[in-house]
């Protein structure tokens, strides 16, 4: 009998403890700082880094296997997502050892890492893409930056206005959320501050945006080159100012609509962090970048 009555009390105690544990969570992290590497930021980069971290941990298991000079502690690498802005901020305030950033840094941002490192792993390239059923693929596969700007700003509203041989149907402009990394890239390379048309559909993920282009013959959108390459006959990339988004043009820098994939740290990495950085920049790391659909930096 007594036990039965004690049960709710016990339950309450456990619940209260869980509540308290939740409050104290913030402090536990700091004591682990020396034994684990924490990486956080851009949602574009996090799958790449997470995959590399998995491979790295799987291959070496303990740090002394990576380099005999390191202690025989297990390798622990945390990767968390929260956007490029979050990555920058958290790297600076020390929440993470490395911030993942998928955008061009301005001079002010670069200055914060003058003492530390900025490592580029690759580029995320945005292809201006349409559905294969869209006659523009044959009629006008090359747009100027100015035409693109006018389309995305909503100044050119129908395909016919773009070229008289195209159908008199509305252009469906599909973009990622305004303010996100991809929008920023497109703004810098094409829009130059012109607001995106208020009629543009904002699509919650790059995968869904690619899906929209595949499903809808009247859509034009900017799609990650990786997704375009994975769906060769379903999404057709257009050239911009006569330059097609080919690997050569991207690496040479002639194709402008792209952003770098960066890891940043405000201080010099210690031996373990350096070992992981080296792994990321090795053949294995860059292959992951390529497999995920991005263009790796020249090996």
């Amino acid at each position: 009998m007594r036990m039965k009555k004690m049960l709710p009390l016990l339950l309450i105690a456990v619940l209260a403890m869980a509540l308290l544990a939740g409050c104290g969570g913030g402090q536990e992290g700091t004591s682990e700082q020396s034994t684990s590497i924490k990486v956080g930021g851009s949602s574009t980069l996090s799958p790449i880094i997470a995959k590399c971290a998995d491979d790295f941990t799987e291959e070496f298991k303990t740090w002394d296997k990576v380099d005999a000079g390191l202690p025989a502690e297990p390798i622990v690498i945390f990767v968390s997502t929260g956007g490029s802005g979050f990555g920058l901020k958290s790297a600076v305030d020390g929440t993470f050892d490395f911030g993942m950033v998928s955008k061009d840094l301005n001079d002010e941002e670069k200055a914060q890492f003058a003492e530390g490192v900025i490592v580029q792993l690759g580029s995320d390239v945005l292809d201006v893409a349409v559905n294969p059923q869209n006659p523009i693929v044959n009629v006008k596969p090359d747009l100027t930056t100015e035409e693109l700007r006018a389309i995305f700003a909503g100044e050119i509203k129908t395909w016919k206005e773009l070229d008289s041989s195209l159908p008199d149907r509305p252009i469906v402009v599909a973009v990622r959320d305004l303010g996100g990394g991809a929008s920023e890239v497109f703004d810098k390379a094409v829009m130059h501050g012109t607001p995106i048309s208020p009629e543009a559909l904002q699509i919650p993920s790059m995968g869904a945006l690619a899906g929209k282009v595949m499903d809808n013959a009247e859509t034009i959108g900017y799609v990650s080159s990786g997704l375009v390459n994975q769906n060769p006959d379903k999404i057709i990339p257009l050239s911009v100012d006569g330059i097609a988004p080919t690997i050569e043009n991207i690496i040479s820098g002639d194709y402008k609509i792209s952003r770098p994939l960066l890891l940043v740290s405000p201080s010099q990495p210690d031996a373990k962090e350096q070992a992981f950085l080296d792994y990321l920049q090795s053949e294995k790391g860059l292959t992951v970048v390529e497999d995920m659909g991005y263009v790796p930096v020249a090996k």
């Binding site: 009555k5 709710p8 009390l9 309450i12 105690a13 619940l15 209260a16 509540l19 949602s43 929260g82 956007g83 490029s84 802005g85 979050f86 920058l88 901020k89 149907r169 509305p170 252009i171 469906v172 959320d177 305004l178 303010g179 996100g180 990394g181 929008s183 920023e184 501050g193 607001p195 208020p198 009629e199 543009a200 559909l201 904002q202 699509i203 919650p204 869904a208 929209k212 499903d215 809808n216 009247e218 859509t219």
Partner: protein, 288 residues
């Protein structure tokens, strides 16, 4: 009799109950604090009635009128679709359904509530959007209507369950009195049962409205997320919940953009709380 052993138990549950309520207050306070610069710099009126949303432009302009209208339009639209179906279903279940049929329908309806909203959104995006494009020859099929339609399905189980409960709460004496006067079951249902249960049924609607306003995933995938002020049910729009879900990931903490999203969240929370208070008032009126 209160034994000595009960006292710590009562103290314990009281503490937990108070803490849970404080959680809500704390959340509203936190959102208010995070969004304070918006209210003081832009102004409540300007923020709520502005129709331009350019949070990351060189000179940011932030007004959420288009999103506010989208939220209300989508939620009220869902209610318009769900109310007749929900009430009809509830009346059938409470009054006309054979016991065996009700035993099948009720668990199925309850199960509908457990389906993750992302699944609804995904199905809507895959089926509804394409259907609208093909049937109405639209350039793109996303619309507030599509979002309302899916939301209606999502809130139906709540409306049905709560209306049915209200109908069943009508005292059996009234039923016997009514039927003994020789009225038909149809007359009894329409003129006696439903009017007696009407407050509870309105409460069910209001509960559905609250849920519809806060729902995020399905509207995010179906409403189209354009920044234009919607002018019809078939316009595209971006409800508040979709706005926050889309942009919070890329907003840098501490910027006006981030604060504005918190302000939008606060507006949504206040809307939903208002709706819930309305429901409590209705239910309190019912008990009296």
């Amino acid at each position: 009799m209160k034994s000595k052993r009960e006292k710590p138990f009562i103290a314990g549950v009281t503490t937990i109950a108070v803490l849970s309520s404080l959680l809500l207050l704390g959340m509203v306070f936190f959102m208010f604090r995070e969004s304070l610069p918006i209210w003081s710099d832009i102004g409540v009126f300007q923020f709520l009635t502005g129709t331009t949303w350019r949070p990351v432009a060189a000179e940011p302009i932030m007004g959420i009128a288009a999103m506010l209208v989208s939220t209300l339009w989508v939620a009220l639209g869902a209610l318009v679709i769900a109310a007749p179906i929900g009430f009809g279903c509830a009346i059938f279940m409470a009054e006309f359904a054979p016991r065996s049929l009700a035993a099948v329908i009720r668990p199925v309806l309850n199960m509908l509530t457990g389906i993750p909203s992302v699944v609804y959104g995904f199905l809507g995006a895959a089926v509804l959007v394409k259907y609208f494009e093909a049937t109405f020859d639209l350039a793109s099929g996303e619309s507030l209507f599509a979002a309302s339609l899916v939301l209606a399905i999502m809130i139906l189980p709540f409306i049905i369950a709560n209306s049915e409960a209200a109908l069943r709460a009508v005292a059996p004496q009234i039923r016997y009195a009514g039927l003994s006067l020789g009225v038909s079951r149809q007359y009894y249902t329409v003129h006696i049962l439903v009017p007696m249960a009407r407050k509870g049924m309105i409460g069910a609607l209001v509960l559905g409205l609250g849920r519809a306003m806060g729902e995020t995933m399905a509207v995010l995938m179906l409403a189209g997320n354009t920044l234009l002020l919607p002018i019809s049910w078939f316009s595209k729009g971006e409800p508040l919940s979709a706005l926050i879900a889309l942009e919070i990931g890329s907003a840098t903490p501490g910027t006006a953009h981030y604060q504005a999203l918190f302000a939008a969240g606060l507006v949504l929370v206040v809307l939903v709380i208002t709706v819930n208070l309305m429901m409590n008032t209705i239910l309190a009126g019912l008990k009296r």
